[in-house]
Symmetry: C2
Subunit: 240 residues, 2 copies
Amino acid sequence: MTVGIVAGMGPAAGVDFARLFVRASEQWLRAHGQPVRDQAFPEHWIAQVPVADRTQALRDPAAPQPLEGLVSALERLVAVGARAAAMSCNTAHAWHAALQERVPGVELLHIARETAAELQRRGIRRAALLATQGTYGMGLYDEAFATHGVECVLPSAEAKEWLMEGIYDGVKAGDMALARRRFAKVGQAVRAQHGDVPLVMACTEIPLALPDAPEAAGWTMVDPSEILAAALVSRAYGGR
Amino acid sequence: MTVGIVAGMGPAAGVDFARLFVRASEQWLRAHGQPVRDQAFPEHWIAQVPVADRTQALRDPAAPQPLEGLVSALERLVAVGARAAAMSCNTAHAWHAALQERVPGVELLHIARETAAELQRRGIRRAALLATQGTYGMGLYDEAFATHGVECVLPSAEAKEWLMEGIYDGVKAGDMALARRRFAKVGQAVRAQHGDVPLVMACTEIPLALPDAPEAAGWTMVDPSEILAAALVSRAYGGR
């Protein structure tokens, strides 16, 4: 069936999510012994829409809010035929329930629930969460991690600021070198305190830079977008 | 204004076109002194739809034809708000005129016309065309090159077969190593015969592999998708 991707948050991360979706589709086809050819991929639509900044909206109720933009994008994805959808932005999941209620005709996957379930399947019992202040503030991953028996380790307050710098002044502003330095510094600090713990890159901008940092060679990194993309592929091919 | 991308031909090339669009948007923002942030990007929708094989359809009128799939995708892009659109597949341009006629409410850019105009702007008077048999057969670039005073150099019949192998058995089947070898072989043959001529990679699968071939270091390569993406960005920001 047709699936949709609510993206543009930021646009580079949206493209990367589409790449992960295409790669996960290829993997699904190979795993099911089917030839990889253009027509074998599930139809998928990527809506790269300008959505108000999610972290700012959570901090300040008077700031522009993203819900109407998300509703408009998801409604149009349903109109073109999508029956399942995913959002390629962790922080946007603050509006997951409101969005699903406003647009009921589509299954809207949840990035933290899919990730926690996958960590449990992989036997991971403890993981560090790298995210935006917005994601930390709303406890996006807390309930899902608890449900699946995964202990959540957090960076220090200072390291959380480095993450924000890497995301906003780095990836979103096109300065990948800065992003790599900031994210690597966070990983080093977390590992100095908690040892060789898997790093859950719970903001879609982080996997665009951290894995390329030389310091990160050999670290265990988990990409929730990759897990979400695979879950969406599974819906597209009719599985659960 | 909102713009659309008719893609899925193949899906990996569609994602790459979206990446080029995002990069060209960033470049546009920087060139116009505007800050690069999520909300500054033009709204763009990528329709990754299963479309019948274009080269096969051109070879055999009894084979599944792509026009209806293209019309359906473009109509839905118009329905979500797109007022200009591009197709991330060279061969699909065989149906450019028919598609534009069927869906008149949108400006459908033409990859060969945008590329030829850009070659002329760059002062390039002679270029080699690397493409599918479908693109060669319909002479997609001939008229546009002639209009803009660019002489077109073609690979040998044997080299054209290597291109098809690199596209279908290589990129479309996920074997990038094979694709690099085949495309590099074509480049070497063309350059052996015609000298240091710019290589126009006029099939969206070729830029996914050729630039990574070690043999291609130092070669001049032109990516029509990159030129088309920049043209679409210019429409999105209201220019021509």
